[in-house]
């Protein structure tokens, strides 16, 4: 019997063998599904986040179409609420955060001279949980009835989900359940990657890479990761409270039983304001790398920029109530939070002046990444300054819930974060694909996006000051709002065009014959010492670091006047390492991060529909965790 079984060819076993071979040899779809390589995970994060960027962008265009003229009929009020809620949620949790995570993954291990992150499988788990959470969240669209008849089921209470709007009484249906559970799932992804990068940065640096020789981007990854692991638990609890209220009739936000909806606002913004810096600090890190490279000068006042980043992170815990000035906290609380909000502008301002001083006197090479980085500085400065106007409490009373606020946070999150992230995309694209994005198309994209951005959001400042409230699906004629709204809509379509040009650029680049050099921008940090694309093991030989911007110092010495002079036989990244790369032990690919991640959306679905499904999800989760724990991490 046993012999017969052995001889019988088993298609399943054959398929599994094939999968393992593919995974080990880095080929085929299975090698991506089982990968634990930080570079591949980073690419998956980036591609997925850009996919959600298109989705969130389409939602934005729908909003702008609806508001382009008074009394428009593109969306009905119910659809409008769902679309703007999903637009905000998508852009924050499914675009900017994961796009930042993509850069953490791609760049951080290379910059500190490591072969991978501290926990490669946990890293894959983060990605799969993020993907699962994103799909789960968007699946809510289909729960409202027939989606083809415009019956949407998505959450409708805004991305901040203020209670009691989110309670069953005011948000019946499953939309808010999907929202809250989706955010819980995404929170797990963020927490896992936060832990991973803190440990990676603190523990896995190459010899000589002291904390104050770390590139700024690595610093910002570290600071952001700390913010994530401390801010996420607060929103986790707030979301649990909301879910208990919705699913099990608890009273956390039920005024009739003594609950207070204000608790939600406190907890949400106690998370939400650190979250704002979780969104912007990575982009600041990227800009702090791009500017020195294209100015061919070290970052001005490196320690100041580092400490400003740390100071911002600490202070971000003490400003949350500036989102709540109109809730009646009282004069003392309002003044205190107003002052702390003014103070947090100081380290932010320090950074802006350091960036300007980095450019000052540099031999500027004006390429697409630098365009986006300078765009970031300009737009973020406007965003920061309008933020300071919110700290003046009486002024904030007037601005609360108007388009002025909408303009402000798009100014920092789009003009800031998205511009910074695009700078990073253009800057590091060749390192991971081996091809340079087209420079001409890149600059066209920048100018279209820059002009479109300003056309969209500067009119909103005026609209806000004219008194146009946020979160209204339409407005009557004759308020003086018509022209500015039309301009904003035109701007939004210009932004869409610029994104289209980016996609064209990516497609055209994929067909490009010539390959990128290892160091196309004359970079300063360790990733440029590696071939493009980077081999799986990153560093054939782990480097020893002697200075900040070590790679630059390998290439250049300074003459008497402090100008860089090329060093003969400087590191070009193309010498053959004298190491047998086959001897390098890399972590093995694994299915278990994916399986474990799959359990979470199943459990979440079960919580909404049927406890039996929870059991199934829990079983998947347990199989995943035990399989993970018992399999050897590397062969």
């Amino acid at each position: 019997m046993a012999r017969a079984a052995e001889q019988k060819p088993s298609p399943i076993l054959d398929a599994m063998r094939q999968i393992r071979e593919d995974a080990a040899s880095y080929r085929g779809i299975w090698s991506w599904i089982t990968t634990v390589d930080h570079k591949r995970i980073g690419i998956m994060y980036g591609v997925t986040a850009l996919g959600f960027f298109l989705l969130g962008g389409i939602e934005a265009l729908l909003i702008r179409l609806q508001l382009s003229t008074p009394n428009a009929r593109v969306l009905d009020p119910d659809q409008y609420n769902r679309i703007f809620t999903m637009h905000g949620t998508t852009m924050i949790f499914l675009v900017v955060m994961p796009l930042s995570a993509a850069f953490f993954n791609l760049i951080t291990p290379l910059m500190i001279g490591a072969r991978d992150v501290a926990f490669p499988r946990l890293n894959a788990f983060s990605y799969w949980v993020f993907l699962a959470g994103g799909i789960f969240m968007n699946a809510s669209f289909f729960t409202g009835g027939n989606i083809l008849h415009g019956e949407l089921g998505a959450p409708d209470a805004g991305w901040f989900g203020y209670a009691p709007l989110t309670l069953n009484r005011f948000s019946p249906g499953e939309g808010v359940d999907f929202w809250a559970l989706g955010l819980q799932i995404l929170g797990i992804a963020s927490m896992a990657s936060g832990f991973n990068f803190i440990v990676t940065i603190l523990n896995m640096r190459a010899p000589g890479m002291t904390l104050f020789r770390m590139p700024l981007f690595v610093w910002m990854t570290l600071v952001t990761s700390f913010l994530i692991v401390f801010a996420m638990p607060v929103i986790t609890v707030a979301l649990f409270e909301l879910l208990f209220d919705r699913l099990f009739d608890a009273n956390f936000f039920n005024v009739a039983k003594g609950g207070t909806p204000l608790l939600w606002q406190h907890m949400f913004w106690l998370f939400g304001h650190p979250e704002v810096y979780i969104l912007i600090l990575p982009a600041m890190g990227i800009v702090s790398e791009v500017l020195p490279t294209f100015a061919r000068k070290p970052l001005f006042g490196y320690p100041f920029v580092v400490f400003s980043g740390i100071a911002i992170a600490f202070m971000s815990w003490g400003v949350w109530a500036h989102h709540m000035f109109t809730t009646g906290l009282g004069a003392i609380a309002n003044s205190a939070f107003g002052v702390s909000t003014i103070l947090i502008a100081i380290p932010t301002g320090v950074k802006i002046f350091n960036w300007l001083a980095t450019l000052w006197g540099g031999s500027i090479s004006l390429k697409t990444p630098l365009y986006f980085a300078i765009g970031f500085i300009a737009m973020f400065t406007i965003g920061g300054l309008t933020g300071v106007t919110h700290s003046i409490v009486p002024s904030d009373y007037q601005q609360q819930d108007t388009y002025y606020v909408v303009a402000h946070f798009h100014q920092v999150l789009f003009g800031g974060a998205i511009f910074g992230l695009f700078a990073g995309i253009y800057y590091w694209y060749p390192k991971f694909t081996g091809r340079m994005l087209y420079e001409g198309l890149g600059q066209v994209q920048f100018w279209l996006m820059f002009i479109g951005f300003n056309l969209t959001f500067q009119p909103m400042m005026i609209l806000g000051l004219l008194g146009m409230p946020r979160r209204i699906y339409s407005y009557p004629q004759g308020q003086g709002w018509d022209a500015w709204n039309l301009v904003a809509t035109v701007g939004a379509f210009l932004i869409a065009t610029s994104v289209l040009i980016f996609i064209i650029n990516v497609i055209a680049t994929a067909r490009r014959k010539e390959r990128a050099e290892a160091d196309p921008w004359d970079g300063r940090t360790l990733e440029w010492s590696l071939p493009s694309p980077v081999p799986a093991y990153n560093f054939a030989k782990i480097p020893t670091v002697h200075a900040l911007d070590d790679f630059w110092h390998q290439k250049y010495a300074e003459d008497e006047s402090g100008r860089p002079v090329p060093v003969a036989a400087g590191g070009s990244g193309e010498e053959e390492p004298e190491v047998d790369v086959h001897g390098i032990h890399m972590p093995s690919p694994s299915f278990f991060p994916l399986i474990t991640a799959l359990g979470l959306p199943i459990i979440a679905t079960g919580l909404i529909y049927d406890p039996a499904i929870v059991a199934v999800g829990a079983a998947v989760l347990v199989v995943g965790i035990y399989g993970w724990a018992l399999e050897p991490a590397s062969e």
């Binding site: 523990n203 607060v234 649990f240 009739d249 956390f252």
Partner: protein, 194 residues
């Protein structure tokens, strides 16, 4: 002590241990938020039953004492594996898990008893905050029990040697943390009543 760190780290702390410390640090915010909500709502009940009607302090003191003592047996389990005493390891792991189970059983009894006397999640603010706060703590203890039992099975099969004592150490960190959280909850919820 025999350790075999796979890689040298910059801080000298094993990656996994650093991860556990960070996780516990973030858990402080998690329980901090839950406890904060409990304190905010402790005198906001519109109807009874109130804590003083339901709490059986002697009973809960006993179960709290059992949980506290389980930290001692946890330390003994770690000491056993570190000196290569496999029998001691198995005994103390199982004892710790057993004491955890006693604690959770006590909690289950307390929950059903309170429910019988008319307290549910939706009765009043006390019901809402008490069940959610202590429920999440109980869930943490339950996860800890599962970890301990898994370690016990590993030890039973001879897969938890002196060189792998880190696993026990990590479980211990988690266990002690959950224990400390209970000290805070027990003090703030049961002992100091308004």
């Amino acid at each position: 002590m025999q350790h075999s760190p796979a890689l040298e780290t910059n801080t000298g702390v094993d990656n996994r241990k650093l991860l556990m410390w960070l996780f516990l640090a973030s858990e402080c915010l998690f329980f901090g938020s839950l406890i904060g909500a409990y304190l905010l709502y402790r005198d906001k009940n519109v109807t009874g039953p109130y804590p003083k009607d339901l709490f059986d302090i002697p009973f809960t003191s006993v179960s709290a004492f059992i949980l506290l003592m389980s930290s001692v047996t946890m330390v003994l389990a770690l000491a056993a594996v570190q000196r290569g005493d496999q029998r001691g390891l198995r005994i103390w792991l199982l004892t710790t898990a057993f004491m955890g189970i006693l604690f959770v059983s006590g909690q289950a009894f307390e929950f059903t008893e309170f429910h019988r006397q008319g307290l549910s999640l939706s009765t009043n603010m006390f019901g809402t905050t008490f069940f959610v706060l202590t429920g999440f703590h109980g869930a943490h203890v339950t996860v800890g029990i599962l970890i301990l039992l898994s370690l016990f099975v590993m030890a039973w099969r001879g897969r938890l040697t002196q060189a792998e004592s880190l696993h026990v150490e990590l479980a211990g960190l988690y266990w002690h943390f959950v224990d400390i959280v209970w000290i805070v909850i027990f003090t703030l919820v049961y002992l100091i009543q308004p």
